[in-house]
């Protein structure tokens, strides 16, 4: 009669905070923090507290929709599944399996992502499966995978408390990882020094002990300057280097050309500050380097991460308590989506598609042959002129809002023979689809998410999805069975059992073991307690590898026509493309209008006052938005968040890609702004 309480995980960022939902009469009526959660410990951020607001929104998709004559009409599930299979078969017959692609979802469960890539590979015969990690931590997975053998955060969030030094490069955790930011503040209270490297004076930079406001896209010079100084002062941990690494000599030779003075010329940070920062990091007995989009979303993103790894290895700050390399994974389950093989070149558990032995093992278990050639990344496929991909299945992604160069993305999707999009709300991407499938949100299904510290946690179903919407697990099984595949599982826990049997990292994961704290992989068997800190005795590849980071400046530098650098990113009260947060009344009230941060001098010389409507233009397109005049950005740079579909930042961004990981350069392109009209509030 009265309400129930269901324990689950927050659906927003990769912190994976514990969330308790109050449920009554099939509706979520309240959200509460989990006092005893290992990460969130009784706290939530503004988004976690309001996570229930979008669940029962009237905009929720409730029936499969087929586009006919430019409009959507409701059809049955059987019709929808039959239709999509027929269209995909048509594409395969005409162009081959490599013409089919799929985007899985960093917001769906591990089980769902696993089934998705299994469907694309077995059901369509294609390795063209990818997801939004391509836009964010693809470089991390590539670089750390190569340098250490594992692309994930090496330590746990709790490990920050007790470290002596936190070097944060390209992260604004105070706004994007708010609850773990508390852990960083706790560390500071216990004596840790927080150093923030960021072109902007973010909230995190303001509260740091030291802020290095480098020029956008100059991280490698800065890190090289630091490393060369560390070598020069004899502060490198030679014992650690000799015992645990290889490739040191190549790095030394490379760094000979990189004095702090040369670094300073490029990155704009004073040489003495570079030296001082290097010494603090190197001399600390323990140190955590934390990084995020600020360094990955560049054309040299992968190299940027190599440089970070090199610095940490140089000082012996990896593989110990309170010492490690910490990429903060953004989505609630982007770590999981990668772990589950939602990537074109790897199968679940990061086992290479090209590795015959590994492939055979999957084929034996799955009872069918697997495509042998690694697939295309989504960004490369979209950028390619030959348009190999003709039909696409999108699950829980909104590339029209999140991928760079919006007009190009729209053109690509419009030119497809067939596009089916599975989501909980209409988005700019569903509107282009031929078929839309209504899916379930986090509160409406069982499954697991893996947070940024590799913690696999249970979601518990609290309410039913609206109308005829189904959870993605059910949808995928039905689509697969309609294609003749044996996707028969009693429930998602059986899917995890299958995952455990194939992916050694998840070998010991079972629902019955996840309890209240989940388990951190690697967890190879049912007795294993999980792994808070990686690379303690050995790195995943044995010895760690120093890789010489190749620096390239941003592809598009400011010039006379476009004299400002545009940086895109996030703000605290909205999440990514805003499909959930813009529909949450509390969050929308907090910020309901798009804005772009402009430095006072850049504003004043253009006659722009705070709140004025401005047009922001790049070579890709233009948006009209409001100016927020602030010295959070430096002169010559502007900052736009990408949450607002009425002024989409990705209409402006450059689809120049990092050649190794294909991440787009969201963090630097050339722009100009011009005043359009007075602030509407006056």
């Amino acid at each position: 009669m009265g309400p129930e309480f269901v324990k689950t995980v927050c659906p927003y960022c990769g912190s994976g905070c514990g969330l308790i939902l109050m449920v009554r009469d099939g509706k979520v009526v309240g959200t509460y923090p989990d006092r005893f959660h290992p990460v969130s410990r009784g706290a939530l951020c503004i988004k976690g507290w309001t996570a229930k607001e979008f669940i029962h929104h009237p905009d929720r998709l409730t029936a499969p929709l087929l586009k006919s004559g430019g409009r959507f009409k409701e059809i049955s599930w059987d019709e929808a599944i039959g239709h999509m299979n027929e269209r995909f078969d048509r594409t395969i017959a005409q162009y081959g399996a490599q013409a089919v692609g799929g985007l899985c979802s960093a917001r769906c469960t591990n089980e769902e992502n696993y089934l998705f890539q299994k469907l694309i590979r077995l059901g369509f015969g294609s390795n063209n499966v990818d997801h939004c990690a391509r836009l964010c931590h693809g470089p991390t997975v590539a670089a750390m995978g190569r340098a250490l053998g594992s692309g994930a955060m090496t330590n746990s969030i709790a490990d920050f408390d007790g470290t002596e030094c936190i070097l944060a490069i390209g992260s604004n955790a105070a706004e994007t990882f708010p609850v773990p930011m508390g852990e960083l503040y706790r560390a500071r209270e216990r004596g840790a020094r927080l150093i923030v490297v960021d072109p902007r004076t973010t909230e995190m930079a303001k509260n740091a002990d030291s802020h290095l406001p480098l020029r956008p896209g100059t991280d490698i010079p800065l890190l090289n300057g630091m490393m060369s100084h560390i070598l020069k002062c004899g502060l490198a941990d030679q014992e650690y280097i000799d015992r645990r690494t290889e490739g040191f000599d190549q790095l030394v030779a490379y760094l000979k050309g990189w004095s702090p003075e040369r670094a300073a010329e490029i990155c704009g940070v004073a040489p003495d500050l570079i030296r001082q920062t290097a010494e603090i990091y190197a001399r600390s007995r323990s140190a955590m380097v934390l990084f995020c989009m600020g360094i990955t979303q560049h054309v040299c993103g992968t190299s940027n991460v190599f440089a970070v790894c090199d610095l940490a290895l140089l000082c012996g700050h990896v593989g110990k308590d309170h010492s490690g390399i910490c990429p903060l994974r953004g989505q609630c389950n982007v770590q999981g989506a990668c772990d589950m093989g939602g990537l074109p070149a790897v199968l679940p558990g990061y086992q290479q598609v090209a590795d015959i032995q590994k492939r055979n093992r999957f084929e034996a278990q799955w009872g069918a042959a697997l495509p042998q050639t690694p697939g295309q990344t989504v960004t490369a496929a979209m950028a390619a002129n030959d348009r190999q991909i003709r039909s696409v299945y999108v699950m829980g992604e909104n590339p029209v809002m999140s991928d760079p160069n919006r007009s190009h993305t729209i053109e690509f999707l419009k030119n497809l023979d067939f596009l089916v999009v599975q989501d909980i709300f209409h988005t700019d991407t569903t509107r282009l689809a031929d078929l839309v499938l209504p899916a379930a949100c986090f509160a409406e299904k069982d499954g697991t998410f893996t947070n940024t510290e590799r913690r696999v946690q249970l979601l518990r179903k609290a309410v039913d999805p609206p109308g005829q919407a189904l959870d993605d697990y059910t949808i995928l099984c039905r689509v697969a069975r309609a294609r003749g595949l044996d996707f028969t599982y009693a429930d998602p826990s059986e899917v995890m059992d299958e995952i455990a049997s194939l992916a050694p990292l998840y070998g010991g994961i079972r629902y019955g073991r996840l309890g209240s704290e989940g388990l951190q992989w690697p967890c190879p068997d049912y007795d294993h307690p999980g792994t808070p800190v990686l690379h303690r005795e050995q790195f995943s590849r044995g010895q760690a590898l120093f890789v010489v980071p190749e620096y390239s400046p941003p592809k598009e530098m400011p010039d006379e026509r476009y004299p400002l650098v545009l940086i895109t990113g996030r703000m605290f009260c909205h999440y990514h493309t805003g499909t959930m947060t813009r529909r949450s009344p509390f969050l929308d009230r907090e910020t309901d209008r798009p804005f772009v941060e402009v430095h006072p001098r850049d504003a004043s010389c253009r006659g722009i006052c705070n709140g004025d409507a401005i047009r922001v233009t790049t070579r890709r397109g233009a948006i009209v938005t409001a100016a927020r005049v602030t010295d959070r950005v430096g002169e010559g740079m502007i900052f736009a968040s990408f949450h607002f579909s009425e002024a989409p930042a990705d209409a402006l961004t450059n689809d120049a890609l990092d050649p190794i990981s294909n991440v787009p350069e969201f963090k630097a392109c050339a722009a100009e702004i011009v005043r359009e009209a007075a602030c509407p509030d006056h």
Binding site: M1, G2, P3, E4, F5, K7, I20, M22, R24, V29, G30, Y32, P33, D34, R35, F36, S40, G42, A43, L44, C45, I46, G48, W49, A174, E175, P178, V179, M181, G182, Y185, R186, E189, E203, K206, N207, L458, R460, G512, G515, S516, E517, M571, F572, C573, F586, R589, E590, T591, F595
Partner: protein, 282 residues
Amino acid sequence: MLDTVRKIAKGLLGQGTMDGVLGLAVGDGGVSPRLFEDPGDLGSLSLASKWPLAKIAVTVLGQCPDAYRLAVVCRGCDERALIELGKRNRIDTRRLHVIGVACSGEQAERCLCQQPWPSRVDAGVRAQGADLSGNDQVRQYLDSDRGVRLEKWREAFSRCIKCYGCRNACPVCNCSPCRLEDGLWVNRGEIAPDMFSFHLTRAMHVADACVACGACQDACPVGIPLMLLQLPMRAELHRSYQYEAGTESERHSPLLSNYIDEPAGGISIPDWTDSLRKNHGS
């Protein structure tokens, strides 16, 4: 202690005196609040360390039919919060029944609690209230030079990520609409929110209703010592009016009832520290 509470709850549900018992339960996902309605179901009842339930009780009552009678496993602070809410017509306390649980001395120390017991103790033993005079944090934030104190608080509030957790968790925080949201006193869409307009507004709004449950502080991700913010006001209300929120169900807050009848000495709030030293510990 757990068995005692279980027995009481079972009796209340079994005899139909109460429709539900709100407490904590231990399940496969760990500890979580739970509304027990079946007397046979109390095996999972837990008295895990502090989890303020007053705010949840209010929501539960709001979600249930008007005739629903709710028992709540209450610590001292929970009960005081419910009494305050009753006084302000936010809940009908006649629908409530308190199962009183006393906190341990260690818990009182952790919460800086002076009165770690409910009005009637059904389970547990009254422990001594916390001694604030020796507390380091209290000293730093409330008992030093004004300039030093201001800096300390400014630094703490600069960490605020505007999660609204303090407001969401506070059981007596109840303005509708909430003044912190209206964009008039606090700029929207910016962090950290201004110290005076956000945090001190909130502190003043609950000044005479704060029952020192610490839910605000527990919900703060960045460790702002919010309990300490309310301490001086509670001390002053006690000193000038012998008033403590939540302890008397019939007596209204002096701030609401004393516009005409000022006490002889008047109320003065310049020196938090004096009031702290003299009166806390009683």
